[in-house]
């Protein structure tokens, strides 16, 4: 499990970018999707998730806007930029390469 969480931590930003590829979303929804995809084995800590948003936003890979919920607290939605899509594709390719490499080594 330790190796797994180490590897996952290194890919937090790519994981978030992938969630934003299909639609704009907000923090909790992204984390829920991640949990569902991993059968509740993996969940990002809020601190990790929101720090990653800040980094992605300042790097210009995502932008954010406030939703207009009729009831309850406002949500901040994130949207992937074209640069974000490019970086995601690159990271994904890098990961495929790394996978092949590690498979031949381990």
């Amino acid at each position: 499990m330790n190796i797994t969480s180490d590897i996952l931590r290194g890919h937090t930003e790519t994981i978030i970018l992938k969630q934003l590829l299909s639609k704009d979303s907000y923090g909790y929804e992204i984390n829920k999707a991640i949990q569902d995809l991993t059968n509740h084995e993996f969940e990002l800590k809020e601190a990790t998730l929101y720090s990653a948003f800040r980094r992605l936003e300042s790097a210009g890979l995502i932008t954010s806007y406030w939703g207009d919920e009729a009831t309850g607290a406002r949500r901040r939605y994130y949207m992937i930029t074209s640069e974000g899509k490019r970086v995601y594709a690159q990271n994904r390719k890098d990961w495929e390469d790394a996978k092949l490499l590690i498979d031949s080594l381990i």
Binding site: Y26, Y28, E46, A47, R54, S58, R76
Partner: protein, 220 residues
């Protein structure tokens, strides 16, 4: 219980500068945590269990708050700075207005033409120096976060400052040109061809502008 979540988050942000950015981050966090809390209740957990799950999922919030502490610098000029700014500009403008007076008084009353001219240029030089010093010593705009908007503001502030500096220099330059024009005409009667000075002056100004733009381009 929701109030307890709210308090936990606000407390974690206690020693973070109270910027818009930090307020928005708190709002975002709280709204997402409340939704998570309500989902936990729907799944049949008690309020206490739900609260514990939410807090346990937070992780190390200092990771988040530390990033907000950097880059925070007040950028608005203080009242004192503005006063000093206004005083310097007033003195400079006064000197510009007085500079031809120095020439007239010294040359007419004391009959010292060269001294009058020296006096006039001295006044202009001091006034221009003051204006340039004033512009150059203004604090530049400092980004208070890393967004595109802040970058744009910083770029614009730098651009405006450059523009003001250029305007100050060129107004002094034209005053000097007019002074030289009047001086050579009245002193030596070069009326027929002294107009050429304006064409030369315009050329010099454009060259200066080009050099100015080039150096800025390189800096960017």
């Amino acid at each position: 219980m929701i109030q307890k979540i709210r308090t936990t988050i606000t407390r974690a942000f206690d020693d973070v500068p109270k910027t818009k950015k930090s307020a928005e981050l708190q709002e975002e966090l709280i709204s997402n945590l409340i939704e998570k809390f309500n989902d936990q209740l729907k799944m049949g957990k008690t309020e206490d269990e739900a609260y514990t799950t939410v807090i346990a999922g937070l992780g190390d919030l200092s990771e988040l708050t530390e990033s907000l502490k950097e880059h925070h610098v007040l950028s608005a000029p203080s009242a004192k700075d503005r006063q000093r700014n206004a005083l310097v500009i007033a003195i400079s403008v006064g000197l510009y207005i007085l500079s031809p007076m120095a020439l007239i008084v010294t040359s007419e009353v004391f009959d010292q033409d060269v001294l009058g001219l020296v006096m006039m240029f001295l006044f202009i030089a001091v006034a221009t120096g003051l204006l340039i010093y004033n512009q150059a010593s203004k604090p530049k705009y400092i980004k208070d976060d890393e967004t595109l908007v802040e970058e744009f503001k910083e770029w614009k502030a730098a651009k405006d400052k450059d523009k003001a500096l250029f305007a100050a220099l060129s107004s002094a330059f034209w005053l000097i040109v007019v002074a030289i024009y009047l001086f050579v005409n009245f002193m030596y009667g070069w009326w027929p061809f002294s107009w050429i000075i304006f064409i030369i002056a315009a050329a010099i100004q454009n060259i200066a502008r080009a050099i100015f733009a080039l150096t800025r381009h390189e800096r960017d």
